[in-house]
C-alpha cells in the first residue's frame, strides 16, 4: 500500500493548525481574521515511500483474538453491575410492543467463582390479573467473567467447529476493526448459529457481534430467530458485556407472549476491580421479614 509522504506532511500541518486554532491570537489588535500567506521559497519534494508488509493471516488473527479474550478476562478480579432482563411481546407485529417482564439485579462477581445476585425489581405486566398461564424468565448468573456468550466461537477449543472468513477492515479513530464471519462446519446441529464479529485489533477483543440462525433452533415452537445482537462497551479500559438482544417468532401464538417476542439483557453501571471483599459473598442468615 503506497502512501505519499507529502500528503502526510500536509495533514500533519493541518492537524497542527487545527490543534492550535483554539489558542488566543498572537496579536489581539488584529481582529479582522488570520492572514493567509503562501510560502513558496522553501519547496521540497519527498518521493513517495511504498511500505509493504505481509498481511496478518486469518489464523494469526484468530490466535490473537483467543489470547486477547483471555487477557481481557485475566485483567479483572472482581466486578459489579446492574443487569436488566426483559421480555417484550408483540415485538415484530403490527400491534404495539409491550414490556411483559423486567427483572433488574445488582450482580457481584469475584474470582475464581464467587457470585452474588440481588434482585432490585421484579416487574410483571398484568400481575394483578389471575392467570392460569404464567410466564417466567429466570436466569442464573455464571461465575467468572469470560463472557462465553460473546466469544464462544473464538475460544481455542471451538476453532475446529467453525469456519472463519474476513469480511472487511475499517480504520476507526486509530483502531483497526476487523469484521470476521464465522459459521459452523457441521450442518447437523440447527441450534448452532453463524455470525459476524467486529474485533478491535488494539486489544484483539470482540466489541460487537451479530448472530444468524438459518434454521429454527427450537422447532416446532420457535419459527425462527430473526436477529441476535451482542454488544460490548469499554468501561475504565476494560471491555465488558453491554447488551444481548434477541428477537424470535413463534409458530403459534403463545399464551401471554403472542407470535413474536424480544428477550434482552442489558448490563450497566459497572464497577471493576474495586476490591470486593470475600465477606460480600458469604452466605448470610435468612432475613426474617
Amino acid at each position: 500500500m503506497a502512501a505519499p509522504i507529502t500528503c502526510l506532511t500536509a495533514l500533519t500541518l493541518a492537524a497542527a493548525a487545527l490543534a492550535g486554532s483554539g489558542a488566543p491570537p498572537a496579536s489581539p489588535a488584529r481582529s479582522s481574521g488570520p492572514t493567509l500567506a503562501a510560502e513558496d521559497t522553501m519547496y521540497t519534494e519527498v518521493p513517495p515511500v511504498l511500505v509493504s508488509a505481509p498481511r496478518v493471516t486469518l489464523d494469526e488473527i484468530l490466535g490473537r483474538v483467543a489470547r486477547g479474550e483471555r487477557r481481557r478476562d485475566s485483567l479483572m478480579t472482581d466486578q459489579s453491575y446492574l443487569a436488566t432482563a426483559r421480555l417484550v411481546r408483540n415485538a415484530d407485529s403490527k400491534r404495539p410492543a409491550e414490556l411483559l417482564l423486567e427483572t433488574v439485579s445488582r450482580v457481584y462477581k469475584k474470582r475464581p467463582d464467587l457470585v452474588r445476585t440481588q434482585v432490585l425489581r421484579d416487574y410483571e405486566a398484568h400481575a394483578e390479573k389471575k392467570k392460569n398461564v404464567k410466564v417466567e424468565v429466570s436466569f442464573r448468573e455464571r461465575a467468572g467473567m469470560d463472557e462465553r456468550v460473546v466469544n464462544f466461537a473464538f475460544r481455542p477449543e471451538a476453532r475446529g467447529r467453525y469456519r472463519y472468513r474476513i469480511l472487511g477492515r475499517e480504520l476507526v479513530g486509530g483502531h483497526l476493526i476487523y469484521r470476521i464471519a464465522f459459521e459452523p462446519r457441521s450442518l447437523l446441529d440447527a441450534s448452532d448459529p453463524r455470525g459476524v464479529v467486529w474485533i478491535d485489533t488494539n486489544d484483539f477483543v470482540i466489541v460487537h457481534q451479530e448472530l444468524i440462525f438459518d434454521r429454527s433452533p427450537a422447532a416446532p415452537l420457535i419459527k425462527g430467530v430473526n436477529r441476535v445482537v451482542i454488544e460490548r462497551q469499554n468501561v475504565d479500559g476494560y471491555w465488558v458485556l453491554k447488551r444481548v438482544l434477541l428477537r424470535a417468532e413463534t409458530t403459534i401464538p403463545l399464551p401471554e407472549i403472542g407470535r413474536s417476542f424480544d428477550f434482552s439483557m442489558r448490563l450497566d453501571d459497572y464497577a471493576i476491580n474495586r476490591g470486593l471483599p470475600d465477606s460480600l459473598f458469604a452466605r448470610q442468615a435468612e432475613v426474617k421479614r
Binding site: 506532511t9 493541518a14 497542527a16 493548525a17 488570520p34 493567509l36 503562501a38 510560502e39 513558496d40 446492574l82 417484550v88 415485538a91 410492543a97 423486567e102 433488574v104 445488582r106 467463582d113 457470585v115 452474588r116 440481588q118 434482585v119 432490585l120 425489581r121 421484579d122 461465575a143 467468572g144 462465553r148 477449543e157 475446529g160 476507526v172 479513530g173 483502531h175 462446519r185 457441521s186 450442518l187 447437523l188 440447527a190 478491535d200 466489541v207 460487537h208 434454521r215 422447532a219 445482537v229 454488544e231 462497551q233 469499554n234 453491554k242 447488551r243 438482544l245 428477537r247 409458530t251 403459534i252 424480544d262 428477550f263 434482552s264 442489558r266 459473598f281 452466605r283 448470610q284 432475613v287
Partner: protein
C-alpha cells in the same frame, strides 16, 4: 522556467484556517470518528430495531433488595411426581408412578446434592412389580466434572443394548409391530463419566441377575397379530461386568470415534466369561451450505460365552432400515453407512406451501452390514473370521424425510430398498435417531 504550483502545505494551512468556523457550525451533525462513536452508531441501529427492548433501564426505585442469593436458603428441595406407562409383549401394560427429589442446583463448578429418582410399576402380563431408584450427580474433583449415575432395582431390558425408547412402546401398543427382544435385569449399575471438551471417558460396573422372559401379552390397540410373537431367551445368570468407554470428536477434524469394551469374568464373581468390544467412527463432511455427507463405520466382536444378551443385532432405524429391529444377530457385527443429509427445507425448495413449524429435510442413504459368528436366534455358527463371508452382507439404499425438533431426537421417515440377491422387500420405517447414530451422544462442549 519553473512552473508555480500551489503546494500542499499552503492548501493545508488554508484548510486549517477555514476549518474551525466550519466545524463549529456543523457540530451537531458531525460524525464521531472515534471507536466509541463507531460502536454508538452500531448501537443506534440496534436501538431502532429493538426499540423498547433496548431502552436504558429506569433506575428510579431500585433502592430495595427484593431477593438476595446470599440470604436464600442454600438448598431447596424440589419434589416431582408423575404417572408412567409402559407396554411390551413380555410385560403387557405396565402402569406406574415415578418420583424425583432434586435440590437447588449448586453454584457452578461446585458439587451439589444431586438428584434422586425412583419408580414403581406393575407389569400386568407376568404380574410382577418393578421398582428402582436412581441417583445422579455431577461431582467436581480437582475442578474437573465427573458425572455419577447409580441405579438399583428390577427392570425389563433390551437384548440389543441400543434403545429406541418411545417408539418401541408405540409399536407394541398400537400395532403389535415391536421386534425388540427382552430380558429381565435385577441388581445394581453404576457409572462415572468424565467429559472434557472434545473427549469423554466412562467407566461402569454392573452386578445384575439376568433372566429370560416370554410373551405374556398378545393384544394391541389395532387388534393385529403380533409380528414377532416370541421373545429370544436370554441366558440366566448373574453377570458382573466392567465397562470402559472413550469417545472423541477430534479437534479440527470432522471425525468422531468411540470405543467401548465390556468384560465379564468369573474372577469378578460373574457366572459368565466374555469380552465384548465395539468400535465406531463417523465423519461429518459439509458440502457447502447445502448438505452434509456422513459416512459411518461400526465393528463389534464378542468372545468367550456367546450370550444372547451380549450379542450384536442388526435392523431398525439405527442400523439397517430395510430390516425390522433386531432381525439379525450374531457374535460379530460389521456395518457401514453413508448418509447425504440436505440442510435446506425440502418443501420450501420445492415451493410447496407448508406451515413454518414443519421444516423437512431430505436425505439419501446407503448401508451395508452383516452379523456372523453364533446366531442367537438359530443357534448356528455363521461362517466368517474377522470379517463375514461375502454373501452374508445385507445392503440397502433409500431416502428419508427428517424433522428436527427441540422436543425429541431427529424424526426419520424412511423407505429402504434392499440391494443384492436376497429376497427382502422394500420397507417403510419411522425412527428417532441422531445423524451420527452409530456413535453415542456427543460429548458436552462446555462446562
Amino acid at each position: 522556467m519553473k512552473a508555480h504550483r500551489p503546494s500542499l502545505t499552503a492548501l493545508a494551512l488554508a484548510l486549517a484556517v477555514a476549518a474551525p468556523p466550519l466545524a463549529l457550525a456543523q457540530t451537531p451533525t458531525v460524525r464521531d470518528t472515534s471507536l466509541g462513536g463507531f460502536l454508538e452508531q452500531l448501537s443506534d441501529s440496534t436501538d431502532r430495531y429493538f426499540e423498547i427492548s433496548a431502552a436504558p433501564v429506569d433506575t428510579a426505585g431500585l433502592d430495595t433488595v427484593l431477593a438476595d442469593t446470599a440470604t436464600l436458603p442454600p438448598r431447596r428441595l424440589k419434589l416431582g411426581l408423575a404417572p408412567t406407562f409402559g407396554f411390551s409383549r413380555v410385560d403387557g401394560s405396565t402402569p406406574g408412578l415415578s418420583a424425583s427429589l432434586g435440590v437447588t442446583p449448586p453454584e457452578p463448578k461446585h458439587t451439589g446434592w444431586g438428584k434422586l429418582q425412583g419408580g414403581i410399576a406393575h407389569a400386568n402380563g407376568p404380574d410382577v412389580m418393578f421398582g428402582n431408584a436412581r441417583y445422579t450427580n455431577r461431582l467436581w474433583l480437582a475442578r474437573q466434572p465427573f458425572d455419577l449415575d447409580l441405579w438399583g432395582g428390577r427392570k425389563t431390558a433390551h437384548l440389543d443394548r441400543d434403545d429406541e425408547g418411545l417408539l418401541t412402546l408405540l409399536r407394541a401398543f398400537l400395532r403389535g409391530s415391536d421386534w425388540t427382544q427382552y430380558h429381565r435385569d435385577e441388581g445394581f449399575e453404576g457409572s462415572v463419566t468424565h467429559r472434557q471438551g472434545w473427549w469423554r471417558v466412562n467407566a461402569s460396573y454392573r452386578d445384575l441377575l439376568q433372566s429370560p422372559l416370554h410373551t405374556t401379552a398378545t393384544w394391541n390397540l389395532a387388534d393385529r397379530d403380533l409380528e414377532r410373537p416370541g421373545n429370544l431367551a436370554a441366558m440366566r445368570g448373574r453377570t458382573h461386568e466392567l465397562e470402559y468407554a472413550a469417545a472423541a470428536h477430534w479437534p479440527r477434524l470432522p471425525l468422531h470415534t468411540e470405543i467401548d469394551c465390556q468384560t465379564s469374568s468369573r474372577r469378578l464373581g460373574s457366572d459368565f466369561e466374555y469380552r465384548r468390544l465395539h468400535a465406531a467412527a463417523g465423519l461429518d463432511l459439509t458440502l457447502g451450505r447445502f448438505a452434509s455427507l456422513v459416512p459411518q463405520l461400526s465393528y463389534g466382536r464378542l468372545t468367550g460365552d456367546l450370550l444372547p444378551q451380549a450379542s450384536f443385532y442388526l435392523g431398525g432405524g439405527g442400523t439397517l432400515r430395510s430390516l425390522h429391529r433386531d432381525e439379525c444377530g450374531g457374535s460379530r457385527l460389521a456395518l457401514a453407512k453413508l448418509d447425504l443429509i440436505g440442510a435446506q427445507d425440502l418443501l420450501a425448495l420445492l415451493r410447496i406451501p407448508h406451515p413454518a413449524a414443519l421444516p423437512l429435510q431430505g436425505a439419501l442413504f446407503l448401508a451395508s452390514g452383516a452379523t456372523w459368528g453364533l446366531d442367537p436366534y438359530r443357534g448356528e455358527v455363521v461362517p466368517g473370521g474377522d470379517w463375514p463371508d461375502a454373501h452374508e452382507w445385507l445392503s440397502e439404499a433409500g431416502a428419508s424425510l427428517l424433522y428436527n425438533s427441540a422436543l425429541f431426537p431427529t424424526l426419520h421417515c424412511s423407505y429402504a430398498w434392499p440391494i443384492g440377491p436376497d429376497a427382502r422387500e422394500g420397507r417403510w420405517s419411522v425412527s428417532f435417531t441422531r445423524p451420527l447414530d452409530l456413535l453415542g451422544a456427543e460429548p458436552e462442549r462446555d462446562e
